[in-house]
Amino acid sequence: MVQHAEQLDGAFAALSDQTRRGILERLGRGEASITDLASKFEMSLTGIKKHVSILEDAGLLTTEKVGRVRSCKLGPRRLESESAWISAYQQMLAEQFDHLEAFLERTKGNE
């Protein structure tokens, strides 16, 4: 995982956060303004801007100012974002198996 993260530079770190994964998930369905995102994730504009700028630095997201509204959409680094997704998937699977293990342990007597 460590090697992977290095290879992926910012992309993996950007995706390691649940809110940021949520933002990408939302943008996968279409563009959204900073205000839209802040209201969806129930965060302050400052808070959401921080996440957006991390995603933007990683190339996973681009923003464009249209009038007074800053609009966000998925970025051009498709390969990198996919690699980051594969790494995030790997991490998710590992966590799931940890939880499966814990579940099997706590239901042990019920066979």
């Binding site: 649940q18 998930e25 996968g28 369905r29 390969l79 990198e80 699977l93 198996f97 939880h99």
Partner: protein, 163 residues
């Protein structure tokens, strides 16, 4: 799946096969029947799949071709995952597609196999292969247009042969 670009080695389009494969192996301290139940009964899946987040199983058609859809709900948002079953061999093997709403149409095929060990434990092996056109698109951005162009040329030849 039909590999239309078969004349071009698919591997050439990817940096390494391992970059698009996730393999994970775990040994659980439980008999195979119990592990099988935990990974196939919706009430039980809901208790671990969401990794501590509330999981809503929106669809669960556990049969070949059947559709599954799970949504993880957390304080930071909802995450939808879905797929369809390609193969089910009771107590042994499940092959299914896997997709996350955040990366639409970036489909992985996940194969899970269970093996009963002599000591009463069970080995679970999960192999997921990510197979998407985005990898090819990505190569265009990373300056490896050559490989992508070759594959487009191969596709052109195939399309020409079909017309």
């Amino acid at each position: 799946m039909t590999h239309i670009v078969a004349p071009v080695p698919a591997r050439a389009l990817l940096s390494t096969p391992s970059d698009r494969e996730v393999r994970m192996e775990r040994i659980f301290n439980a008999k195979r029947e119990r592990v099988w139940k935990a990974i196939t009964e919706p009430d039980l899946i809901a208790q671990w799949w969401g990794r501590g987040n509330r999981l809503v199983i929106e669809r669960y058609e556990f049969e070949r071709g059947g559709h599954w859809r799970y949504v993880e709900h957390s304080d930071h948002g909802d995450h939808g995952f879905e797929g369809r079953y390609r193969e089910i061999v009771p107590f042994e093997r499940i092959v299914s597609s896997f997709e996350w709403d955040g990366m639409p149409a970036h489909v992985a095929i996940q194969t899970m196999t269970l093996e009963q060990l002599a000591d009463g434990r069970t080995k679970l092996v999960s192999t997921s292969i990510f197979h998407t056109v985005a990898e090819r698109d990505g190569m265009m951005h990373s300056g490896m247009e050559g490989g992508a162009n070759e594959s487009y040329e191969a596709l052109d030849r195939v399309l020409a042969a079909l017309s």
